[in-house]
């Protein structure tokens, strides 16, 4: 009896989760011209390529896609490097008041983005960084550092200090210890931090719409929002195809590196 209820509950949940995904795929495949103003529940055609092309070129998803790829890869890598160095300083090196440094950097993840936005906008307007790729990249790096730092620091504290001591006795410098001992040993952790920050930057909307405007600077989620605002004129097939395109990179990362992908968030639960 209990088992039947349990299985029905799970099956119901799975169905509820699958229906929107199914509708997403079916309607993204419907030819834009064949769409009759109401959602299709069965396959009407396989015109994904056409819909995707319309979204990619006419709606400007393409430009933003390339910009976002640049932001996510470069900012993710840079943030992980800078955060790993800071974690190294706080955990391994004799920095005075490590707790102060920890909280200073970590506080960046606690606060909602809203508290930074207005001054950032002013700062960017003054420094001519508004609506430039460089400007967005700088803020993405800064935004990605705190949580990457948290993840990497937590992992670094589990490494035995005897490793560093041995390397010091062998005469290695700090730089050598960092690159030859800590970085290789923490490959998985650094990878998880990179995937987490890549996803975070890729999925960002708020910073994008606040600090940029033109199509080749705007990140991809902002472009998708613009496309969605033209709901009735562009037509759902094109919009949903756009949603699928912008989801592809993170979805791919998730399916290939499921363990690492979830590690960022599950690490904070232990």
């Amino acid at each position: 009896m209990g088992r039947v209820v349990r299985d029905l509950f799970v099956a119901g949940c799975v169905a509820l989760w699958l229906i929107p995904l199914y509708l997403l795929i079916v309607n993204a495949l419907t030819p834009a011209t064949a769409y009759e103003g109401r959602p299709d529940w069965t396959f009407q055609g396989f015109d994904f390529v056409d819909n995707a092309r319309t979204a990619w070129t006419e709606a400007g998803i393409g430009d933003s896609f390339q910009a976002s790829l640049l932001y996510s890869v470069v900012c993710g890598l840079l943030a992980v490097l800078v955060a790993a160095m800071a974690a190294f300083a706080v955990v391994v090196l004799p920095i005075p008041r490590p707790a102060f440094w920890f909280w200073l950097i970590y506080s960046g993840t606690l606060f909602p983005l809203q508290i930074f936005l207005a001054p950032l906008f002013g700062l960017y307007a003054d420094a001519n960084l508004y609506d430039t790729r460089l400007g967005l990249m700088l803020v993405y790096v800064a935004w990605a550092i705190p949580f990457a730092f948290f993840l990497i620091r937590n992992q670094m504290t589990t490494m035995p200090p005897e490793l560093t001591e041995a390397a010091l006795i062998d005469g290695a410098s700090f730089g050598r210890i960092f690159w030859r001992v800590h970085v290789p040993l923490m490959r998985a952790g650094l990878g998880a931090a990179f995937i987490f920050q890549f996803t975070a930057v890729w999925n960002d909307l708020l910073l994008g719409i606040t600090l940029s405007r033109s199509a080749d600077v705007q990140p991809v989620m902002a472009a998708l929002t613009t496309l969605n605002n033209a709901y009735s004129s562009a037509g759902p097939p094109v919009i949903l195809a756009g949603a699928l395109i912008v989801s592809a990179p993170t979805l791919l990362l998730f399916l290939v590196f499921r363990g690492l992908f979830l590690r960022g968030i599950t690490a904070s639960a232990r």
């Binding site: 989760w17 800078v82 190294f88 909602p112």
Partner: protein
């Protein structure tokens, strides 16, 4: 951090014991220590500074400075061009601004809805799929939307929830015409519909976290309870739930904070409308600052939101940072 066994700390502990001040001591399995001590041949305590400096520069200039600038700016009447000092006027205005009141109410609805739906549902699904045959596959499907951005999820749910969208179409086709609604156009169902849409995305990660917690429950506890005749509800209530306490704190903390920060979903589905009825604090701040150019007022709202976020993350931060010694004491 790892200062537990430095000589200074040790002597102070002895002194403290001499005065019979009860001190709590952690019992580490192996004593952590700083491998590099100040005063080694590699330079003094400042040798580490260059390593932390890039992070400090980025965070300091682009996050810490704007934070304090926002706090400072919230005491000014500022339209983006001219600003004048008005003291706490922005904060007193909040009290009798009906839009702020509605926004606060919506924010509370988001928090309550998040606890009720993604967290509770996540717990139930995790328990129901634990050690079952297709449990892993079911969990994978439910966590799949987590890999899709909130913006894309919002676009998909816009398609579901518009007045001639899939939800209404389904309700009409099964004869529940009276249930079909203009989901996004009236308060309160627009906020509720948004919460449901975000549940679809956010539940999966809670399932994963609870599943980790479930796997960590020691087998012998469960077996002992089984020997004592516990099963079903009693097992859940007296064994599973207490054992999941630590995970629950984190899940609840993260879920509440995320619901307070929710922006993308609301912005794309309703833009906070119609007539600002579905705004939460995160949206109200954005609209006041960047659409209406009430920069000072927006900063005041941002500060209120920040205080709420920090206070509500306190519980899970205490849990998350057991070894910094700062959050614990």
């Amino acid at each position: 951090m790892t200062e537990t066994v430095t000589p200074a700390a040790a002597t102070s502990a002895v002194k403290a014991r001499g005065r019979r001040v009860p001190i709590r001591r952690r019992v580490p399995t192996r004593t952590p220590h700083q491998a590099v001590r100040p005063g080694t041949r590699l330079g003094g305590p400042l040798a580490a500074l260059p390593w932390a400096l890039p992070a400090f520069a980025f965070v300091g200039v682009l996050l810490v400075y704007p934070f304090f600038r926002s706090v400072y700016g919230s005491f000014f009447e500022d339209n983006g061009f001219t600003s004048s000092y008005t003291g706490i006027d922005n904060y007193t205005r909040l009290a009798d601004d009906p839009i702020f009141g509605r926004s606060l109410l919506n924010t509370l609805m988001w928090v309550a809805g998040t606890l009720l739906l993604p967290v509770l549902l996540g717990l139930l699904i995790a328990v129901a799929t634990h050690r079952t045959r297709f449990g892993g596959a079911a969990r994978l499907i439910i966590v799949l939307p987590f890999a899709i951005s909130t913006a894309a999820t919002a676009v998909l749910w816009n398609f579901m929830l518009t007045s001639d969208g899939a939800v209404n179409q389904f309700l009409r086709s099964v004869g529940l015409d009276s249930w079909a609604q203009t989901w996004l156009l009236e308060w309160p169902q627009n906020t509720l519909a948004l919460i449901v849409a975000s549940t679809w995305q956010a539940t999966g990660i809670n399932v994963v976290l609870f599943a980790i917690g479930l796997r960590a429950i020691p087998r012998d506890i469960v077996e002992a309870a089984q020997l004592d005749g516990a099963s079903g509800w009693r097992m859940f209530r007296y064994i599973t739930l207490p054992q999941l306490r630590a995970v629950t704190v984190v899940v609840v903390g993260m879920a509440v904070v995320n619901s307070l920060k929710a922006f993308d979903m609301i912005w794309i589905l309703t833009k906070g409308g119609p007539s600002r009825s579905s705004e939460t604090l995160a949206l109200t701040m954005y609209r006041e600052t960047f659409r209406l150019f009430h920069v000072g007022y927006g900063s005041a709202i941002a500060l209120v939101l920040t205080v709420i976020v920090v206070v509500s993350s306190w519980a899970y931060l205490r849990h998350q940072m057991p070894d910094t010694g700062w959050a614990k004491s």
